[in-house]
């Protein structure tokens, strides 16, 4: 029955999937943004990430935190996206357009400018720094980031320090 329009999962998995989307959807959208060149590509990548989560969810036994699980998949799909589309890994340029931003009055405009500036700066970082910064900005701990990337916590700290210096100077340039 589920083959042609029924539920995607047995109900408990369906609930877990929905809860994951609810909790991490916005984070995933932002992660997709650091790997994609434009909003359309970003939407496609986000879709790919969510589909990959759906496929991996039945095998998830809680060996790591749910957040680590979700971010691993997101960054891995991002890498696949970069490899398939042969995107540059050292520098990404292009005007970023934020779609579906929550509508709010004038003060949102200034905030949006700030967001854009920060996003553009993050996108200009080389891939290794970009991954660490994105996860730090999403609130992951060093340990979680180390788990996602398969590097040591010390390495995470070192990359973050360097990335912050670069971000500072990139934001100043703007």
């Amino acid at each position: 029955m589920f083959l042609f329009g029924g539920p995607l999962y047995p109900s408990d998995l369906e609930r877990r999937f929905s809860a994951l989307l609810e909790a991490h959807g916005p984070s995933l959208g932002r992660v997709a943004g650091v790997y994609a060149r434009d909003p359309a590509e970003r939407e496609d990548l986000l879709q790919e990430i969510v589909v990959a989560i759906w496929r991996a969810l039945p095998q998830f036994r809680g060996e790591c935190s749910e957040r680590t699980f979700v971010f691993r998949i997101a960054h891995n799909r991002g890498l696949t996206h970069i490899a398939r589309h042969r995107l540059p890994t050292t520098e990404l340029t292009g005007d970023l357009e934020v779609v579906d931003a929550k509508p709010s009055p004038e003060q949102a405009l200034a905030a949006r400018q700030q967001q854009k500036r920060l996003q553009a700066a993050v996108q200009q970082l080389s891939l290794g720094y970009r991954q660490v910064v994105t996860m730090v900005l999403e609130g992951l701990t060093y340990s979680e980031i180390a788990d996602v990337l398969g590097i040591s916590e010390g390495n995470v700290g070192a990359r973050l320090t360097r990335a912050r210096q670069m971000l500072r100077s990139l934001c100043k340039e703007d």
Binding site: G29, Q47, I82, R84, E138, G139, G150, R164
Partner: protein, 193 residues
Amino acid sequence: METDNELETWRLEWQAEYFVPPDLRKRVERDIRRHRHSFWASVAVTVLIGGGTTLWAAVSGESADIPVLAAVWLFVGITWATSIQLERMRGSSKPLAETTAAFLEFSIHSCRVRRQGIAVAAALYAGFFSFMVAWKYSQLAAEMPLDVWTYLTSGRVMTQCAITAVLAVIALGRRRRLDQELHHLMTLKQRLG
């Protein structure tokens, strides 16, 4: 302390962005169903080709059609067995949640297996195509005198050759894309390693 404030400010700015297309859930469900349908589509093609040929052979009742029937089922069987084996080698049933380093290794391996898959498919196709051309020639030659060259340059064979050429171009294009993807994955591995 100052630096922590800086990070906190960036974090707030960063997380203020909301990018979730309203139809995301629907798109994902559509995609998932398409994945499932593609498997059943392969089954349907197998049943159609295998079943169709079997039916045709049964209706014609000609013993000469038996080699074709055997060749079709052999081709179908090898194709399925090879696909399953390649999928296992590719490790696509492994969970997608791995470390970035492990995932890159897996992607490189998967890319290589997909390249092999193209070569295997080409070899299978070439074998089946050659068999069918030879079988048809033997059938026609049994009915009337037929020069091999005349047969090979006939409209029917030329059309099949043209289709084969188009398929070859598609396969080469796919292989080229995989080569580029592999190269890019190796670069990523080097850069992130």
